[in-house]
């Protein structure tokens, strides 16, 4: 009897694994390069998430042998992924379409609150401070792209 339950002839060898690894490395490089180039917010998000998806697919299909696996494993992964999207998606749909001031104070949807300054004070809430990256340049960790 052979090694595993997998159907014969589909096993990957070390060479293929190394090729996948090279692809993953290249993709990591692409992400970093795009980040460095700073092509703008939406491009950065799209590239970063798109590349992450491709990388994840490579790992799942080749390293995790989804390629050779029976249908159940694939189904499991796909269903789990879809549920994650469902949870994120519907939660975001709610927050995006709510009565704006039902979102956390000073969040994006409060931007144009016409009565924000006159609204009754709320306990324990921080004042809306602008982001002030003042001493970042002197900071050792500072490294704006």
């Amino acid at each position: 009897m052979t090694a595993t339950t997998h159907s014969e002839g589909k096993h990957l060898g070390p060479a293929q694994y190394v090729m996948v690894w090279v692809a993953l490395m290249v993709l990591t490089g692409v992400t970093l390069a795009v980040w460095k180039a700073d092509l703008g917010y939406s491009a950065r998000v799209a590239v970063a998430l798109g590349v992450a998806l491709v990388k994840a697919a490579l790992v799942a299909i080749f390293f995790m042998h989804l390629w050779e696996e029976r249908g159940v494993a694939r189904l499991t992964l796909v269903v789990a992924g879809l549920l994650v999207l469902l949870l994120i998606g519907l939660t975001l749909v709610d927050n995006a379409t709510r009565f704006p001031y039902a979102n956390p104070p000073y969040s994006e949807s409060w931007k144009d609150a016409p009565w924000q300054k006159d609204a009754p004070p709320m306990q324990g809430e921080p004042p809306p401070v602008r982001v002030t990256p003042a001493d970042r340049s002197t900071h050792p960790a500072g490294h704006a792209p």
């Binding site: 009565f99 039902a102 979102n103 016409p114 609204a119 009754p120 004070p121 709320m122 306990q123």
Partner: protein, 354 residues
Amino acid sequence: MNLVNEFLRKLLFLPLQASEWARQLDYLHYYVFITAMLGAWVTLATAVVFMIRFRRKHAEQSTPIVDPKPIHEAVFIGLPLVLFLSYFAIGYPQYVRLQTPPKGAIDVYVQGKKWMWKFAYPGGPNSTDVLRVPAGRPVRLLLTSRDVIHSFFVPALRMKQDALPGRYTQIWFNADLPGRYPIFCAEYCGLGHSSMLGELVVMPPAEWDEWMERERRSNQPQAQDGQPVEAEQVDLRGSLVDQGRRIAAVQGCFKCHTVDGTQHIGPTWLDLYGRTVKLENGKTLVADEAYLTRSMMEPNAEVVAGYKPVMPTYQGKLAAPDAAAITEFIKSLRTDAPTAEPQKGPIYVPVTGK
């Protein structure tokens, strides 16, 4: 229609309908009730008839295989689906109407707080636990909460909306039946949840206008439990008493202690200084500066009888001058003390509706 409405309303134990929206909602309620009852009882009666009709004759009785035709399953799926979707088709537009206040609605700010409702009207007047609205005019409520989630519920309006801490939710109504209706808190909020009761007073419009005018003229907003107001925040070097009040508010003392003598989680601060208090362990002592300070730092060492040892320690959170300021503030809270200048509550600015 009216008779049928009254009959079904009483049959279902529903309270009075104080707005047109409530009436509309009840019509949907009746529709759902009648169709669901019909469907349920037809199904259950069928089951009972089968149970009686097809009793077992002998132990090894064999039965035919009865498999459904596609039409059976189609009916089983189609009938309830059509019915259920009709509920949604009627109910959802109603909900949208409830969530969309009309232009020109009177805005009232509602603040839920353990365990009371506070209402503030445009122009300054405010009240606790009693919401007065004019009959026949739309009112928009902007709800918020001071601590945890509360839910503003008026059964007579069939209307409920959660009040969330730190942000606003809205709802509106147009009560058209003058009268007094209970307000409940429907979201569990702790010890006093069931006593967080309020009253909605729907007044004839002319009466309400008069009341409002009177309130505005004597626009002396009441104290909000010592909560700091903007005017106070500006003056950082106020008297020790004022500092004490501010620090106490920031530290959240008023979550448990009141300054007006009402019972809460902790003893009230009104007239506390110099009072002889009885402790949990039977001893008595006089609440002096030393005791008050000790209570902040080691709150559970000497607990006043009748209270739970739930206060967190402020050791390390309160600097010594701060503790002294709070003590001074407590000392200033005396019923026999001459009244200081009236405290200013937050001023609410009207909000234009959609």
